[in-house]
Subunit: 253 residues, 7 copies
């Protein structure tokens, strides 16, 4: 019976649900897991890459991580082409705010603007919702480091640690168990690796299957935010240091 | 048979009903309860938070309470992304009025403008109604403190005490029983806690599950309206003082 | 079979009927009765309030009565949010005419303009008709006091006494029996009470369930039109004076 | 089978018919009869009023007769709200022509312009045809007095005597029998009464059920056209003089 | 099966047909026959009037013949209201060309422009094709007298003699048999009468059922084109002279 | 099953086909054959006329051949009214290019522009594809003589010899057999006649059933392109000289 | 069941799929294979031509290879008319960037802009996705030579070697096996031939069935990018040199 109400964004079902928005979530639940963790020193975003091939050529460009402005980065899960449209929009919004007020756009204001666009695609005819969820890591003067998620409905919320994409509920449970408020950035990265190592389907964890990005404050230049998309070698080092490979082997015994 | 008439906002059913508007109400009836009470000294808005997690990071930003301008706050029940669009609109309208007439917009005029937008989404094709109800608390020179609700149809009405969202009819009954015209703001807050403690499903009442906001007049600066979104500690104190925890325990015996 | 023709305003049924307009009338036939009576001294509009609660706060603002300009008031039956849009429009039209010609807009011209808008919603696609009927009471220099009704189709007509909303045909019959051309305003008010007391479902007639408005000429300032939306106390006095409560009791014996 | 082609104006049926236009004609065939007769001295338009009530207040405003400009009047059968839109349009067109060329618009040109609008509503999507037929009586310098009909399809034609609305074919037959080219205006009026008295359902013919209008030349001011919408008393006199009441009684024997 | 493809102009059937255009042709095949014949001295257009009544008042205005500009006339078969829109368009185009280039628009250019409009109504959504065919008679300096037809598809072609509307294939056969290249205008008129007398359903041929127009060159003012829409008396003379009445009688024997 | 995907241009079938484009091709496959052949001295276009009548009057205007500009001509197969729209467009484009760059538009650029328009009608809603294919013969300084075809999908390609319309695959086979790279224009014309004589249904080949056009370089004025649409007599001479009539007779034996 | 969700781009299926985008991919999977390989000295693009005829005239214009600007070329698989629209767009974008910033547009920025257009056709109503995939070969100062693919969804990704169109997965497997990071441009060309020879259906490999293009740096003018679309003779030489013909014969044994 739900069938009558699931083919348009401009229709409520009798129970008050928007099926097209829920179906868009399905598109995301098949995408690689992305994890975000807030630490005392910054934020880490970690993504699982689903498509890997030695013929792929990703020189210097992450597949699921985007820099929005000097103070914000984000990770996406879902349809990449949809994400591209919204990231563009976020970038333009950020620069336009900077130009108007001569200061970086506060994180929540930017996220809200992007979410308002998403909302429109759930209420007006002749459109489908954006098939993409975001993990935003940002810094602003008022709230310092922040981590947000947003989904196809246009909702967003702030988190200390969370995940989107495939297996996100398993990841969420692991995070809830191991997250502590006083994590250092290094510990946050290791926690991210640990959680991904347990939720990813692939048995062999290495830099080919992962993308990492961190947001932190410069130690030299106080107040300057540093966003870093990690090189493969750094990721591999982290994996080694984090000891998840050993755990895995142990698990496999 | 109703099926033929429930998939568009531009259709009356043979009984003169607009099913899509009624379905939008369903979306709201699943949202957390929100209660508003008018006292002699101001207005209190109280909301139940449905989603709680120790990983959520709501530092200083309420989930269901919005400040519209210096004289008005509101609580929402339903789809947050829809609410965001309308709150934006209300804020712009309020500032535009202030700029034009050099005085704060009277509460009812602002609410009416927002409701006119909602109405449009129930009469024109290619749109769905906004899936959100509002509780507005406001102050203006003519009518002093006021409390309004509005719903997806674009209707609004003034109340002394009322509620929206899940269990709103149970809450309404409790309010009708206990509301008195000469409540102080403190008593109104305690009444709100009391009603929520009885209608919320969760057995453990604490600040993690509640949001509180009050509108009152400054005692120092006559005529200045103070809107306050409560900190968790204040909510917890209120819960303790109100004695609902004891009642609960007593009830459970 | 009618089913094929009832889902769009842009469709005639084979018998030349517009079902959507007829369904919109249904929405009105469930609304509280409104009565209008023309007297030699002015016009009275009286409405039944369907939703009543001691928690409602209608300080000074009637629910179903609107002032359009200095010379016109109206009562509505049906969807309040739809009415709000049309009343807005009427007010803007009235002021625009006043500004252009430096005299109050003649009643019929204003009503015609609003009706032309209503008509458009019965002929163009992607819209539904306005679910609201109006009783207009007005005064202009040419025709003095006047009373009009209009309905969702965009038709309007002038009356000496009429009613819209629930039980309007019963009310019409009573009016036809008791209306006289030489009624004073006071007698017209009493006739209104009498008719409402017989058509309303509620057994207890009091100011909580009624709204009253009158349009008359100032006795001090000749030519000045006075529109008055009655206070609860005035309504209660009228009920008492009219003797309907006694009749009711008598009827109940 | 016709069912597949009757729900849109933008569809021809396999036989080349436009069902929606035919259905619109149905709306007209239920409306009160209107009759127009061309005499040597002017034109008469006569309408049957379907809705009558002693509470109706039609002071000075006919229900189905409209003055378009100094030289043209019209009678309508069908949906009054639709007629209002087209009459507005005709009036604006007439004034605009007068302003541009400094002479009254020739009758046929005006009618053609209104018909072109009607045609558009039979050919473009998202619209329904206008549910109204017109009888136009006009005078211009070239063709003197003229009588036209137009219908929902946007067709129009010139007549010496014709009728629209309910029973129009019966009326047409009577007219064909009794019409003579050399009728005086008075004889034309009496013929109109006679025809209506035979086609109207109501047994009691009086001014409450009829509307009359005539277009003639001023006897004082040569070349000035006089349009007159008749008062009730004049209609009643005419009925008496015409002798139809006697005929009726005779018929009833 | 054709049913799936016949309700929109924007659909090809699997055989590459446009059913809506074919259905529009049906509308035309029910209209009165119109015949056009090119002679050495000019062109004749002759139409059958389907609706006749002694109450009709066609003083000086033909029903199916239109003058486009000084050099062109046309006859229509099909929906008159549709024809009116296209004739308007043709007239405006002709004047606009005259104004721009200071010479009469060549016939084919004008016809092409009107046909391009027709074509649009067969290719774009939310429209139906024009339900009308045209016979154009024109004169220009390059090709002298010309005769064209166009139909709802937007096609047009040049002819020496042709017909549109009801019985057009019977008429075409008769024309093919009797047409000669060296006809005088008078002989062409007589041929037109002869063909119509055989294809028309009505047994009694007279001016009430026919419309005639001719285009020829002035004998006084060389190069001036004369378009003449015939008076009833002229038509009746022609019928008599042509001898078709005698033939008819003979045929009936 | 294909039925679900064949009624809109904005739908891919599950196999990735666009049925509406394929149906448009059907419209073309019923049209008269058109053949184009590139020779060393120019290009020849030859068309079969399907509708012939001695009453047709095609003085000087070919039915299926159009001159686009001084350097390009084209032949069409399919819906003439659709072709007219695109030829107009091509002409305007050619002149606009000439005006902007002061040189004739290169053939392929012009064809590409027209094809881009066609493509739009296969991808956007509320439209049907153009039901017409083209054979373009052109000359430009870079590539000298060229021959192109384009079809409803908006594809185009260059050919040495090709055909469109009915029997185009039979024609294509004959061309493949007999085409040589060093044909003179005269030999190309004779080849065209020969191929048409074998693929046309009609047994009697003459100028009434054929249209011919050639594009060649002036022998007097080097670099000047001459486009010639052939007169009937020239076509008849060619038929005689080409000897196809004899072949036919021989074939018939 | 998937049927309900596959006819519009504005619909998610319950599993979060966009069927229309998947169907568009089908259109591509029937097109000729195209292969791109990155070498140390440049990039090679190679395409299989599906339609071949000795009458085709492709003088100097490749069918599936386009030059975008001085630094980028691309190969397409799928609907040529759709490709034409997007290539146009890419060219305009490239020139517009060059004009604005006075430097060639970086490859990824250009590809992203084109992909954003593609994305729009998967999310907005009344459109179908573009039925075409691209292989882009480009050079810019930052990343030197690059190879990208994009598909109807608007996704793109960078590759060292990849293929699109028919048999692309077989081609991909062959590439994975034989690709080495230190290929010279010549070796890359030979690899392309080798892969195509194994995946193409046609048994006879020659220049008639292949298109080749390379992008490399000028040896004379450092920093200048040279794009070359190969002549038939060059392709035939390459085939010979690459030795695939011998392999083939060997395979056939």
């Amino acid at each position: 019976m739900s069938r009558r109400y699931d083919s348009r964004t401009t229709i409520f079902s009798p129970e008050g649900r928007l099926y097209q928005v829920e179906y868009a979530q399905e598109a995301i639940s098949m995408a690689g897991t992305a994890i975000g963790i807030l630490s005392t020193e910054g934020v880490v975003l970690a993504c699982e890459k689903k498509v890997t091939s030695k013929l792929l050529d990703n020189d210097g460009s992450a597949e699921k991580l985007y820099v929005i402005n000097d103070n914000m980065i984000c990770a996406v899960a879902g349809m990449t082409a949809d994400a591209s449209i919204l990231v563009n929009n976020a970038r333009v919004n950020a620069q336009s705010y900077l130009k108007t007020y001569n200061e970086e756009i506060p994180c929540e204001i930017l996220i809200k603007r992007v979410c308002d666009i998403k909302q429109g695609y759930t209420q007006h005819g002749g459109l489908r919702p954006f098939g993409v969820s975001f993990l935003y890591a940002g810094y602003d003067d008022r709230y310092q480091f922040q981590l947000f998620t947003s989904n196809p409905s246009g909702n967003y919320s702030g988190w200390k640690a969370t995940s989107i994409g495939a297996n996100n509920s398993a990841a969420q449970t692991l995070l809830k168990k191991d997250y502590k408020d006083d994590l250092s950035l290094k510990e946050a990265c290791e926690l991210a690796i640990k959680v991904l190592s347990k939720t990813m389907d692939s048995s062999n964890l290495n830099s080919e299957k992962l993308e990492f990005a961190t947001l932190s404050l410069s130690k030299i230049n106080p107040g300057q935010v540093i966003h870093k998309i990690w090189k493969d070698s750094d990721i591999d080092s982290l994996i080694k240091e984090s000891g998840v490979l050993d755990d895995k082997n142990t698990d496999d015994d």
